[in-house]
Symmetry: C2
Subunit: 140 residues, 2 copies
Amino acid sequence: MNEYKFEDIKIGLTEKFNIDITEEMVNAFCKITGDINPLHNDLEFANKKGYEEKVVYGMLTSSFLSTLAGVYLPGKYSLIHEVNIIFKKPVFISDSPLEIQGTVIDINEAFKQFTIRYEIRNKNQVKVCRGTMKVGVLDE
Amino acid sequence: MNEYKFEDIKIGLTEKFNIDITEEMVNAFCKITGDINPLHNDLEFANKKGYEEKVVYGMLTSSFLSTLAGVYLPGKYSLIHEVNIIFKKPVFISDSPLEIQGTVIDINEAFKQFTIRYEIRNKNQVKVCRGTMKVGVLDE
């Protein structure tokens, strides 16, 4: 886990990691949230709607933003303030691994807060999700 | 599960449900995401940072937006396009149950998409999270 302090955060600082999305993760997300929507859980329904596989929950894909902030940028002293998410393409399990990359694009000294622009890409390097997050840095 | 079609979606339509956040859900979210940040997993660390309990992952709280769209508004034919999240207060397990409420505030006929304004409140009816989502409605 990274332990960037506020003074270590600079515009352009970038962190990146990969995640394998598995059927078990999709099932666990379903159990946590109670979101039993068939697009994510019923192949036949997904096929009927024009998808070759069940669609991975968008909010599961975006849950790795928790990891981006909490483990990588800034890591240990992270506290997420705001998140904006734009889903660009549906994600399938066969898209794994996803690559999550975030870059610091703004720093707010008054609030000890910085802004990350992030992108999530599938194994073919196609962008599936993008957006920004405002993250605070706790005192050490 | 609701099965609102696009033509059923009207400005002001509101759906609401409650969720109990448990230690097991926090642990499951940690396992899915790999976000091992101590604020969410180490009571002593959380205490040192001024919190009486471990802080529930913000992205876990917001994962119930998946349920809001996929089960309630519009339910079966949901596809989330965009999500904006503002975290207003830290959430603790003792804040359960959380109340998630969403209201339709805009409808885009061209994109078969509508906008939900949502609020998440703790058991004391204090707002912990708010924002908007753009959600598409799949053809039946």
